[in-house]
Symmetry: D2
């Protein structure tokens, strides 16, 4: 997949609010019957933390002692309020790095040896010298039943604090590398989630769903009905905790509107008569696994499973949000970008908005309720479809000037070898859908015999696979 | 446990012969219905191997392509005869190391940055630059169902070839480090093995048992009877493949003779009336996991399990071989070591051997059949018991002058916190027992409330915990 | 247990309404994606049913043919509306009984043989001759994965139609006897139900709970919290289908009020500090298993499980409804029973109701809202407690004049060996609680060392075990 | 299947000897570490048995009491020697039958009622009155974990004692009827047995194999190799205890010789290239389940499984013994049956045996070693093939004059719908094979599209499906 696992994925949206957010927090804390107020880290505690960390390194005693130490450390950390946690992380970063003298000697040694086998030995020794005490301590948390989850949550904290505390970036990097090894795709288990899955697992779907909020048990039951499928990756050391999950609707044709997919009163299709499998939601659940990408593997394994169950399926496509579209468009409008409009478009929107400046006109129309205001909608539809196609196919990200799409979801699917297939108007009329992308959504098509080629072309040259329909949208107007 | 996992353990004895050896080979090859002759590596094949290794690095295509590549590589490797394997390993070591220029730049960068957060970043980058392409390729074998086992067997090969090919030592080191992470004790599962375990697993015990050969299914059934226990560690990615296993007899008292433990016609004890648990055999099964030590964890976890099942147990002890005793003693005799005999001992053995040189006398008596020749046995018994105690408690190894016992089994149990409890005469009268240790065996006692302290004292100062009885044997005579 | 498994138990209350009732119906029909209109049984269909039943008897063809036949029969039956079902059952009763000539001959034969071994043979032959073709056909439904459930539902129908169609009583009797063998307690599995149980199972609890309606997933989650337990019996041939389940609250003391037990916002108790286990709801789920009683076994097995988990538990008691109390009381009032009131009670209620006829007074006060109307409540409380004690302990049922309590729940627990422990005022203020028992509830106490004796005394002489407190309530006033 | 489950099947051969017989006994007794001498039933014990049986009927106390009683009864019975067991069974038969007065009244009642619903009620009541206390007691053994196995073994005893004690036949009949319900094919689980099955299960195969003795673990391993399959039926209440198992070889063609199938050194076939599945051994394991036939179901379910795994299979056939052939033939010879020989045959064998009486000649030749004595073999081969065909296809059993084959294995397969396909000469040269059938074996062919028709024809008219080749053998010569 993605050779340098990016920072994109589908992390839980920051703006999530209300009861679902509360449930999510509740889950993070669950296992303790009462939630005491979080504490500060008193100097005496800090001292004991330092001593315990050193004992971890000394590996004094046997397995039981080691487990006791990390148990105490994890309980202490979990009970700390933000300030205490920061201080503890800082301590770990500052005092438990590799021995710099040893590193220096190993470097000297390395530089002195000639290439060949001896150099390879020196290389090994240098690698060993760079091995950090921090990570040796953190690995010991694997002795705890919930230890892996603890480290994943710890990295979540690190990622949130790191702007303020650049010192702790090194913990992020070391955990990222450790997780890359632990969460290797060979270690992940793909499981189907059904209405017969444990309720304790299903409520996590409700909490974690990041794309189209699950509104309760009735909604969830619909999403697990006989014409739906849901799959997740699990790690054997984090049982009952999905790492990423995907929701699929089996439909006759490629779906164009997400509200009708989610309509609880819609009739159920006999899944054996379906020709299309629509991936309408993919949610990463663990912010602490950022950059450890398994989304691509998930989609391809799920396609295999679906084909085994329903050999008649012909179309595998997503119905995806375009989360960055409106923000990008508003930026372009502010900058008075001259490439936005062809004259026909400009005329049409100026007429609808009763102004003569097309930038102002578009800005004004976007402020209206495009779900309800038919004249405004008619005026902007062709232009927005063109602009969305441009945004997805031709607008490159700042992170990697050469090749990567600016839109994170596009980056993910195009990087996986999907094709930009169709732009859908009035496809997501929810408040979030209107806010992010003026109600537009996109289908990315996974065409089995083109995936590899598309992936290669995108990875090497940033070339995007595009359907005929989207090509027509892209044409100069 | 052992902070720097040692090279000792209990690797299958090299001298294993006959049908069991054949079965062991058979198991290594099983899964293929016919065993074709192993092939050489033709130049064209070598070229294809190189190309495929490069494609692995490029991570071209998706998971299926990646899996296809490592499948081909593993099948190719498995079919190669020794010469071909060596060439392939050499290729991997020479051509797939880190980019030395990048390492050079990262070193420069590191040396230039001042200590503190920036230095830590430079450190991270240097670590990344040292990350070897080899190991990135090897990790991809985890995609195969049998991939982990393949890598373990690969390292077995590397360890056998490395004297001749010092270049490939780097592969050993990298795999050792990778296995340290994969076979972390938190990832291991302790399982009891019983007569209700799969026959396919049980026949592996027969093949792998390294200490006291299992002579067939009847012998095995006895070792799994109601007054016996057998436990093993398993790794989830190597199902059905025990990593290490221990055999235990539940007895009234601390056992002093292994043949009576293994006597198939001996009556079965009601295990609830047992006071002692005797660990009479511990076998590592995977030579490719050398240095990844989990034996100490195994013993302590098994003690927990036994106590939960039989709260009346008071004594946890081994009945262990002294594999290096006779070799060491013969070396001392050759060197005419002057500290071997007190005069009373010298007199006694000279009389028995009818010579006046005690060194010659002992050498001569050792050549007799001490299991049968009563006068010889009577003459040497007190002396050999004294010498064995000296060998175990006071003879330090060449590998680590400071602290480690010379005898590998002693090193293992003393390092785990056990106490040198009792030397047993006529304890193993099998040919191997006579050959290795003149029929002597030793009990190491795991006293629950002393384990930690013993472990510390041994690890820090090389101080050995010794029972009163053994102390008396050690006294100058 | 109950030597003649009664007709009481805790069948789903007939008055269940609203969404829960709808869900229950939905579950009964689930498995079919669309619910077609139920059909009538056309004459041609009836003919085919008769032919197929005869083929079943002939056991033509192999297992596949047999399975095909019962599959068709069960699908046909499931799609029939009530009229068709009745006709089909009638057909089965009338035409598929034993051969009366063969029975006649076997009787003759039996009557002719003298007592002793020959008579025993004749007895066997008579038993064989009475073996009914109906039941041989019905047993074949066991070939279907859902066949056992089908038969249980079939008997539910029979029980509902039998008043109108006395002919089909024989099917009820034969199925009752068959179920007695199939649902033998040795074949039942006791399982704990938790929040980690499948949602598809949990929603059945919501639907089946017959005593205190579960109001949704939040209510259910509370009932499965760490200070609660829920256990059910399952049959291996009806997986995922609880036969009977019990809900338990772990509390400090014997609970006196069910609303506070069910309060979702109540704090969670650390279950290790509980001294009492309160069985506050027992629900039979399968009307078709009426008379196959396993409730008593359930309670005793659950007590064992609870004691194993929480050795500190001292009190095992129910908090039970008194479903027949008010109906009985109103009957007594109508009949102007003279034994209801002592004079003090009569005075008090007459004063409160401002009438001079105590029967009228009580009737009048019972019409008020005793949950809110404090003066009325104060006036009736001691009288109602006395009357409830009388009703439970001294009022015998019409079904079995000798011994059985009139109240079905009392009959169940007293028959199991429980003791009538405490009458609780204002214990169930729900509409149903007020309607059935004026808000009163009762604790039955399961005292482990008295259960057998109580059971014997009740079974043999109808003697009820009564606490001191209830004895005081019973005293002539 | 067989509408009246016969007495045939493949019960363990009575003549089984030596170590395997010993192991079989050992298994029957296992679970007790020491085997005490079996005891007699003292008068006091008999009295206690009677009292306990009565308490069972009274169902005094709860489940724990009931379990305690049957535990005591089963332990008592297991410890009894043959005489005591007989006395106990006699007691059960004589004193725990139905109440004859109640039966008499129910008969009177039945005879008095007119046909119709009322008669059906009387019928129900009569059936109830005939319900025997014995069986109510025996059913309670289901409360014990090993209770079902106990009853199966009890019936084994009854079947062995019944000739001597005709009184206890009633227990056999009642258990037979109970087992018919418990071991209904819907309650049986088909499982594949492999080399990964528990050793404790595999050793039972060694003990129970009734057709071709398994000579040890090496032989067993061969029978579970990749070109073999083994399936068994299990009952959920007798886990780890196969009820019947079948061994299959996947071969290119229909096998003609069993020794080559069982040759441990034969090469392993790639099972995907097999066209035939040869059922070469079917063993019933529980003598106590005699007459409860599930063999036919087993074969058909296994055929389904094999086809699912190997869609290329074309031929499903047995390679079966002809256990009664030689005994029948010797009977015919003794009786000087005139239909045995055509004149050509008579001449040939008279020449070979140097006598002029063909009956004597054949008797004489059969006494020779036909596996080694080529001239004798050549002389008898065509005649024996003809006679075996006659025996299998045309010789009807004494038990059911109309239709059933005399040979029990033929009865089983022909009754299942198989076709008599081929007689094989020199097919089983083992001592048993020579003794039972002069080394002949037979293939019964299961042709999927003819099974039902064959089954019907055989069941209704005793018509046997015969291949062209066997028809030619049957022709008058």
């Amino acid at each position: 997949m993605d050779p340098r696992p990016g920072h994109a994925g589908f992390a839980p949206a920051p703006g999530r609010q209300g009861p679902v957010r509360a449930l999510w927090h509740w889950l993070k804390r669950s296992g303790r019957s009462e939630q005491p107020a979080l504490k500060d880290l008193a100097p005496a505690d800090l001292k004991r933390v330092r001593t315990t960390l050193r004992e971890c390194l000394a590996e004094a005693g046997g397995e039981a002692s080691a487990r006791g130490r990390v148990e105490w450390l994890s309980a202490t950390y979990r009970d700390l309020a933000e300030d205490g946690r920061k201080r503890l992380l800082q301590l770990l970063a500052e005092e438990f790095g590799p021995d710099e003298h040893a590193v220096g000697r190993a470097i000297e040694d390395y530089l002195r040896t000639p290439p060949g086998p001896t150099r390879r030995h020196a290389e090994s020794r240098l690698r060993l010298a760079l091995g950090s005490p921090r990570i040796r301590i953190l690995k010991q948390f694997n002795l705890l039943p919930e230890g892996v989850k603890f480290l994943v949550d710890l990295r979540d904290d690190v990622l949130r604090y790191v702007r303020e505390l650049p010192d702790i970036a090194v913990i992020d990097e070391e955990l990222h590398s450790l997780f890359g090894s632990w969460f290797d795709v060979g270690n992940l288990e793909l499981s189907r989630i059904t209405w017969s899955s444990p309720a304790a697992l299903l409520e996590k779907l409700i909490a974690y769903e990041a794309v189209h909020e699950i509104r309760g048990w009735g909604d969830l039951r619909k999403r697990l009905d006989s014409d739906r499928r849901c799959y997740a990756f699990f790690h054997p050391r984090m049982p009952g905790e999905p790492l990423i999950f995907v929701e699929i609707a089996l439909t006759r044709d490629m779906a164009a509107n997400v509200q009708s997919l989610l309509d609880e009163s819609a009739p159920v299709l006999d899944p054996r008569s379906a020709h299309a499998a629509i991936f309408y939601s993919i949610s990463n659940t663990q912010p602490g696994l950022r950059g450890v990408s398994f989304g691509g593997f998930l989609i391809k394994r799920v396609v295999e499973q679906l084909l085994a169950e329903f050999p008649k399926l012909r179309t595998f496509a997503t119905l995806s949000p375009i989360p960055g579209f409106r923000r990008w468009l508003e930026g372009e409008l502010k900058a008075k970008s001259q490439t936005l409009f062809a004259s026909a478009d400009a005329d049409r929107i100026c007429r609808a908005a009763s102004t003569s400046d097309p930038h102002e006109a578009l800005a004004e129309l976007l402020r209206r309720d495009l779900a309800e205001d038919a004249p405004a909608a008619v005026a902007v539809e062709p232009l927005l479809a063109h602009l969305a196609a441009t945004y997805l196919a031709e607008t490159k990200g700042p992170e990697d000037g050469r090749a990567q799409a600016l839109d994170p979801v596009a980056r993910f699917h195009l990087g996986n070898g999907a094709r930009l297939e169709r732009i859908n108007w009035h496809a997501d009329l929810s408040p979030r859908g209107m806010r992010q992308s003026c109600g537009l959504m996109v289908n990315y098509l996974y065409k089995l015999d083109e995936i590899e080629e598309n992936h290669e072309a995108y990875a090497r040259e940033g070339r995007v696979a595009i359907s005929g329909a989207v090509k027509r949208l892209l044409k100069p107007r």
